[in-house]
């Protein structure tokens, strides 16, 4: 359940990152208005909460919040890894 | 620069030693609130005194950081310290209550 919840959170947070101006600036990407289905994906993590509640109510909140924390780190690391080249170029450019 | 502007700018800055003083004041006030809460709580429960004491401890641990940050953060016109001092007085008076 922790893995499933983390995956759902990763999807949700990735969609959030794609529509966050600050994250797009880091990646030097143009902001594009996302489609409605993509925007709805932001709330997919709530399905995780429902599944957690269904499986074991006493641990649901802990698992859901814990997987959010882990997913945040995963998305941040993934984003940094994906756009490391952009950051390096910017740093070199800033230094010269 | 006019003297008014200069004094206004001086007022906008604070030395670290003054901040240490403020921290001490905020700490003492917040600690007083937390201490009085734990001290008085055992007398506030009509039935099980242990339960009342536990409840007092729960509130005290939550109240200490809130009171501390309020007293230190809202220093302008001493709003924060005054509010926390009032809460401390109330909590102190409440230690006299025995249900």
């Amino acid at each position: 359940m922790i893995v499933l919840c983390s995956v759902l959170w990763i999807v949700s947070l990735s969609v959030q990152a794609v529509s966050e101006p600050r994250m797009l600036r880091i990646a030097r990407r143009e902001a594009v208005a996302p489609a409605l289905t993509v925007r709805l994906m932001r709330w997919v993590s709530l399905v995780g909460l429902l599944l957690c509640l269904y499986q074991r109510p006493s641990t649901a909140l802990f698992v859901w919040l814990g997987s959010f924390s882990i997913a945040t780190v995963v998305v941040a690391l993934g984003w940094a890894w994906r756009y490391r080249g952009v950051q390096r170029v910017r740093r070199t450019g800033g230094g010269s | 620069m006019s003297p008014d502007l200069s004094s206004a700018r001086q007022k906008a800055f604070v030395s670290p030693s003054r901040l240490v003083g403020r921290v001490l004041v905020a700490f003492v006030l917040a600690w007083a609130v937390a201490h009085f809460l734990t001290l008085g709580s055992s007398g506030w429960g009509p039935g099980n005194r242990h339960d009342a004491m536990i409840f007092g401890q729960m509130i005290a641990v939550a109240a200490f950081p809130i009171m501390g940050l309020l007293a230190f953060g809202a220093w302008k016109r001493l709003t924060g310290p005054v509010i926390v001092a009032c809460v401390a007085c109330l909590a102190g008076l409440a230690t006299l209550i025995h249900l």
Binding site: - | V23, H35, T38, I66
Partner: protein, 489 residues
Amino acid sequence: MIQDRLRTRMGWLHAWSGFVFGLLLVCIFASGTIAVFDTELTRWLQPEVPPSATALTDEALEETLPTIRKLLERDEKPFITLPSERDPILRVQYHDGHEFLNIPFDPGTGQELAARATVGGTFFYDLHYSLRNGDTGIIFVTFSGLMLLIVLGSGIIIHLKELIPDLLVLRPFSARLRAWLDVHVLASVPFLPFAFMMAYTGTFLHTRSILPPVSYLASINAAITPVAVRAESPALQKEKTVVPALPPLSPLLHDAEKVVRAGQVGFILFLPKNILISRTDASGPARTREHVDFSYDGHFIRHVLLTTPLTRTQQVMEGIHYVRWGGAGMRWLYFISGLATTIMIGSGLVLFLMKRRRLSGGRVIFRLAEGLTVSVLVGFPLACSGFFWGNRLLSGGSEQRTQEEVTVFFLIWAASAVWGMGGCLMKWRVQVWRSELGLLAVLSALLGPLDLLTRSGGTVFHTPTVFAAVDLIALCVAAVAFQIARRLA
């Protein structure tokens, strides 16, 4: 001079209180994170004990009675922990004033298993809540927990506007200060619920030590008086304990199981007057410690379960702090979150030094602060690694073995602190960081091979989970330490 605005004021408070208490909080959080797996670590630290065992039998339970009797004669309060999902071995345990020492038994036959004496994973538990210093340590830890709440609160206030936009930002390849700040924010913001929960529940557990429900004068008086009374009556101390005949345990266990349900008994505690059969902490988020009491002649005395709403709340708060419920997945969540919180505090310490290096880098007090930071950020994991090495390399026959393990830990930590502070005072900053990180990388990387060499029947491709997990985590620590040492200017 500092601008007299809310954000700057809070920034100042966050930085200074964070640094002063952070030095201690890093150790508290790191040891707490390790202690999440204390039971599993005890298994790693006793490689002679088989990783799996047969189910518990009534005969095996009775076989532990002579050991219980011996411990009762020594005025200990022994208890038997029954086999569980986390640990399939039957163990007789007692508290030596610091840790819970254990004697393992085969749950099928009741035969005592020849295993090395070790302080086990509970060493980290004791270090976490009392710094291995009893009541004084508890006061320090509890006070630090209270201060952590202030540090967290001030951190939120200074970062309130960027809390959501910065949530996913990490730029490890940008300027060093920016990269560390990103690490600090990323390790804090998503884990704030965890950090708050642990700081609050942890402080609440021992509130009495710093906020007693009586006036401070009265509590100081109470702390002094019993000592005086004891000193006046030495005859009382010399009285030899008379241990009553121990009843067969299995009928008592089955009777207790009728009350707390089968499979829900965690341990059997032997007190001077009666025997307590207690519910396992793994049964749910509330740490009820529900118990059924029997007299030494085998008669039922009472069933104790506190159910008032406030007691239940207290039990839940204890339960979510100790996390002995929820299974392995939940414990891994706690472990990762604890690690992140440790990184949050550690990166905060590094940031504090980085921001002040240009202006105050030459001052003695700054160099001393940097030495202290090296001692806790690198010295503490180094001492932990040394502790595991000590456990495997110290000879098994020594009676003082448990104490020797602890001595190894503190000796390595002290050496690291002396080298850290001395080196920083001598302006060998980079060499100090590099040497300690390098040593940590080597010790941690070689822990796996050491485990394989010193564990009977150990093979690379068939390693029981507890051993594999510890070895792999040590390898990860080595990789991180190596990478940081490599990137140091």
